[in-house]
C-alpha cells in the first residue's frame, strides 16, 4: 500500500502561514493504515495547531475531518461542505489524495501535511518496507517474487554485484541498518524452487519507458468505461 510520513511541524506551520480557517483533512485508507494521516492523526495535528495558535496569540479556526478515500471524487463530495468553509486545506492523504482535493476544490489552497514515500509492505506492526517501484514492467516472475528494482540498491537486472556480503548489501539504510541483498535472496529462493537456470539468464536492458521517466502515465480500461 501507499505509505507516507508526517512533515516536520515547522514546515506545516510555515505552509499554513497566516490563514484563519484551517481544515486538517485525513484520509481513512492507506495513510490511516500506516498510522500517518487517518482521522485520528488528523485530530492530533489539529490539536497541535490549536495549541500553537493559542501560544502565538492568534485567532485561528482549526477543524479536522477525514474522507474515506481522498483519491475518489465521490468521497470528496462527503467532505465538500467543510472544505468550502476553510481558507486552506491541510491534507494528510498521499500525493494522489492531495492532488485530487486540489483539483476538485480548485482554486482552494490545498497543502500537504505528509511526505508520500513509498509503496510498502507491513513487515510487522508499525514497520513498512518498500516492495514495489511501480516501474510499469514487472520482472519478478523471473526473480522468484523478489523485486530487484526497489530491493536492490542499484536496481540491477543482472545481480548480484560485488557489494553483496553474507547476504547483505554494502549499502545500509540512513539509520545504519543492514539491507538484505535482493539478488542473494533471489538466488536462495530460485534454488528452493529448482529454477537456478534463471540466475544465469542475461536480461537485456529493462523497458524503462514504461516507468515514470516519460511523463505522467495514463491507464484506460475501455471495456469498463461508462457507455
Amino acid at each position: 500500500m501507499i505509505t507516507a510520513e508526517r512533515k516536520p511541524f515547522d514546515e506545516i506551520v510555515a505552509l499554513v502561514g497566516d490563514r484563519k480557517k484551517v481544515l486538517v483533512a485525513g484520509c481513512d485508507t492507506c495513510v490511516a493504515i500506516c498510522l500517518t494521516g487517518g482521522e485520528k492523526e488528523a485530530e492530533v495535528l489539529a490539536s497541535e495547531l490549536k495549541i500553537k495558535a493559542e501560544m502565538d496569540g492568534r485567532d485561528v479556526a482549526i477543524e479536522h475531518t477525514a474522507a474515506i478515500r481522498q483519491c475518489e471524487w465521490e468521497y470528496l463530495d462527503m467532505i465538500a461542505a467543510k472544505v468550502e468553509e476553510a481558507d486552506v486545506v491541510l491534507s494528510m492523504a498521499c500525493g494522489i489524495g492531495i492532488q485530487s482535493m486540489a483539483e476538485k476544490f480548485a482554486p482552494k489552497v490545498v497543502i500537504p501535511a505528509v511526505n508520500t514515500n513509498m509503496l510498502g509492505m507491513p513487515q510487522e506492526h508499525a514497520v513498512w518496507l518498500e516492495r514495489c517501484g511501480a516501474c510499469g514492467d514487472c520482472v519478478i516472475g523471473e526473480t522468484a517474487g523478489i523485486c530487484p528494482v526497489v530491493r536492490c540498491s542499484k536496481s540491477l537486472m543482472n545481480g548480484p554485484c560485488g557489494g553483496s556480503h553474507d547476504g547483505f548489501c554494502e549499502v545500509t539504510t540512513p539509520e545504519k541498518e543492514n539491507i538484505d541483498c535482493a539478488w542473494h535472496m533471489i538466488w536462495d529462493r530460485l534454488k528452493e524452487q529448482g529454477r537456478e537456470e534463471l540466475m544465469i539468464k542475461v536480461r537485456p536492458p529493462k523497458k524503462w519507458n514504461m516507468s515514470n521517466s516519460g511523463g505522467p502515465r495514463k491507464m484506460v480500461r475501455e471495456e469498463a468505461k461508462p457507455v
Partner: protein, 190 residues
C-alpha cells in the same frame, strides 16, 4: 531551522535566568489512573492518611493502554499544566501490555510537545501496584513539584474547567469515578 539559529537559541537559554518559582502557582494536573493499580493505590494512600497535593485530578481508566495520544493532547490543549498516567508495574498489566503501550504513547506526546516548544516534562508515565499507596503519594508530590518549577502551561486560559475538558475528551473510555455520589433509587437497594 538553521544550525546557527539552534546555537543562538541554546545560548539565549543559557543566558536567561532560571525561571523563578511562583509561590502562588497551583498547577492543575490530570492523572490518568488504571483501575487495577494506581486508582486502588490512591485509595490506599487515603486509608494510610498519606499527604499528597490536591492539585491532581484523577480520570479512571480500565487500563492505561486505553489512553490515546489525542486524550493527552486535549488535556494540554484545555490548559492542564501537567498530565501523567499511572499504570501497573511493567509485566503486571491486567491486559498484559497496556501499560507498555501507554509509555510509548506518552513518549510520542513528548515529541509532539517538543515540536510545539512546550516542555516535554509536562507529561510522564509512572508504574505502581495497588499496594503502593506511598509510591502514589510520592509520585503525585514529585510531579506537582516538577510542574511548579516549570510554571503554567503556555495555553492556560481563565475559566476553563480542565478536568471536565480532559474527562470529556476521553469519553466512554474513562470509567465512572468511585467517589461520585451513588444514585440509588429509594426502595431498590438490597
Amino acid at each position: 531551522m538553521a544550525a546557527t539559529d539552534a546555537v543562538a537559541t541554546a545560548e539565549a537559554e543559557a543566558e536567561a535566568p532560571k525561571k523563578a518559582v511562583d509561590p502562588d502557582f497551583e498547577p492543575e494536573v490530570i492523572t490518568f489512573a488504571c483501575h487495577y493499580c494506581a486508582y486502588a493505590a490512591a485509595d490506599l494512600a487515603g486509608s494510610m492518611r498519606l499527604q499528597y497535593p490536591t492539585n491532581i485530578r484523577m480520570i479512571k481508566l480500565p487500563c492505561t493502554g486505553k489512553l490515546e495520544v489525542i486524550h493527552i493532547m486535549k488535556a494540554i490543549q484545555a490548559g492542564a499544566d501537567g498530565v501523567y498516567a499511572a499504570g501497573c508495574l511493567e509485566g503486571e498489566c491486567h491486559y498484559l501490555k497496556g501499560n507498555l503501550w501507554a509509555r510509548k504513547r506518552i513518549n510520542h506526546v513528548k515529541t509532539l510537545l517538543e515540536e510545539l516548544g512546550i516542555e516535554p516534562e509536562r507529561v510522564e508515565m509512572y508504574n505502581m501496584s495497588s499496594a503502593m499507596g506511598a509510591k502514589f503519594a510520592e509520585v503525585a508530590t514529585g510531579f506537582v513539584n516538577r510542574i511548579k518549577e516549570l510554571g503554567p502551561n503556555p495555553v492556560k486560559r481563565e475559566g476553563v474547567d480542565v478536568h471536565a475538558a480532559a474527562r470529556a475528551a476521553v469519553g466512554d473510555v474513562a470509567m465512572p469515578d468511585d467517589a461520585a455520589p451513588a444514585t440509588v433509587k429509594e426502595g431498590t437497594a438490597e
